[in-house]
Symmetry: C2
Subunit: 292 residues, 2 copies
């Protein structure tokens, strides 16, 4: 006799890379039973079943969440508010709702507004976002990664325990943090680096044909590879993240623009002392940002 999984019936709302990977990992860990998916794109449901993520695909939200013990919101960040509003109408009274979004203040506020009190915990597993689509889902991406938990003020302890059990069960290191601090932290540690990578790659757009014609033999430098790696991420995903976290991100983009402009001015003037001091500021910050 095998024991019942912690979450016998799961609804996956938004069938993509992160949600699909989380379900695959939870299946491997024996945490979940029957998983029903719902996605605005019907083909995601089909691929999700082929990939072994879903047992069934629902054609409505209400059908997907009926009887669910756990609702995993894994749709794009900008669709979460609408999804939470709709979810508030038919949520089973004992279901726990968790999400995977990279920005937390808005979704926690929307959950407080639209869901019965206490059933929601905002979650942010820090696992690769360069890929998209459930067809790329991989169970292994969560092992050893941090997952932030951002509970609303009136969370029920059983909701926190469930969220903790889910993410720790698939290998995450779980850290509770308030949503505002989370979003400010992510603006600095993740969102601004993405802005820089996209801007750097974009700045090399006009050089692409020159580079194509000269780099047949010379492979790209590791500098270029590392600094632009995350510019390979989905534009739609990061558009939503930047917009959802605009309040925290904008002052940092402003700082980035200023730093670029100051380096440009020092190079243009040939001001060696000023240039070295700007670069030393960056080196010092890097050493503090990434210790050891």
């Amino acid at each position: 006799l095998s024991s019942l999984p912690l979450f016998p019936r799961v609804a996956l709302l938004g069938v993509g890379y992160i949600g699909g990977s989380a379900v695959l990992a939870a299946r491997q860990a024996g945490l979940v039973g029957h998983v029903v998916g719902y996605d605005v794109s019907p083909s995601a449901g089909v691929v999700g079943q082929q990939k072994g993520v879903l047992d069934a695909s629902a054609s409505t939200l209400a059908e997907a969440v009926r009887d669910a013990n756990l609702v995993l919101l894994a749709a794009p960040v900008r669709s979460l508010e609408t999804l939470l509003r709709d979810l508030g109408k038919g949520l089973p009274p004992h279901a726990i709702v968790i999400d995977v979004g990279s920005v937390k203040s808005d979704v926690v506020a929307a959950a407080e507004a639209f869901l019965p009190a206490g059933q929601f915990v905002g979650c942010h597993p820090m696992a690769g976002a360069e890929f998209c689509g459930v067809e790329s889902a991989e169970a292994g991406i969560f092992a050893g990664r941090v997952c932030f938990l951002c509970p609303p003020s009136h969370v029920e302890p059983r909701a926190m325990h469930a969220a903790q059990a889910f993410w720790a069960g698939i290998g995450c290191r779980v850290i509770a943090i308030d949503p505002q601090t989370h979003d400010r932290l992510m603006a600095a540690q993740s969102h601004l680096p993405h802005v820089a990578a996209y801007a750097l790659a974009g700045a090399l757009s006009p050089s692409l044909s020159f580079l194509d014609s000269t780099t047949s033999e010379a492979s790209p430098t590791t500098s270029l590879r590392d600094t632009t790696r995350i510019a390979a991420s989905s534009p739609a995903v990061w558009r939503d993240i930047f917009l959802a976290n605009a309040e925290n991100l904008l002052p940092l983009i402003e700082e980035l623009e200023i730093n670029v402009r100051e380096i440009k001015a020092a190079v243009a003037k040939g001001d060696a002392a000023e240039l070295e001091s700007l670069l030393a500021k960056g080196q010092f910050a890097r050493q503090r940002l990434v210790k050891a």
Copy 2:
């Protein structure tokens, strides 16, 4: 009876990380015999001998290059012109002169102006520049890396053969390229990524105390690690590189500034379509820049 090394007597001018590493690698490959070092800092000569890079340390340039078959210029980029001028006065007639600088047009022009015709080949081994000081020298950093050779117009074939033999002998993949194309290529592939990394790390300077207070548990994201890695590089080294390659680099920094400003404006306006299109431009460029 052991055979004579290809370069029985070597002068290393500028005893630092790259030059020291190249000599260590050349010793392992049996390419060099007696190596005399010369550096403006006397302590570099002492450490160079302790580290096994140098057999002897000279107190003047003339003493260092007397009887040399190979002169390896590995001093900071901005000191190369003066060094070449001084070198022109006492260079043994059969010595081959090579360098390791990251920018090539200026040094090739200076060599044409100050050295006897044909003895110089500009060289740029693409091996790690994050460290500095001969105490960090490592023989293994050249294996599999590209080394660009930028010959002046009147190079002697024996100089090209010697440069080729040296770098290929320590494991580099040697690629000949004209100095102007090299500098334009490096501005895009290496120098602009360094500007972006320094500017990004610098932009996070004002956030350091907030980050220190919140990240005791959460380690920095891989995004932040990768995008700022090269900001750990020596400010003095990169100040010189940026200034030496200002002509090629400035238009690219300008492009970077424009791209940052456009992303900022789209986020500020909440213009989702414009923002996605800017990010898609970056993603497309990244995919062309770093294939596979």
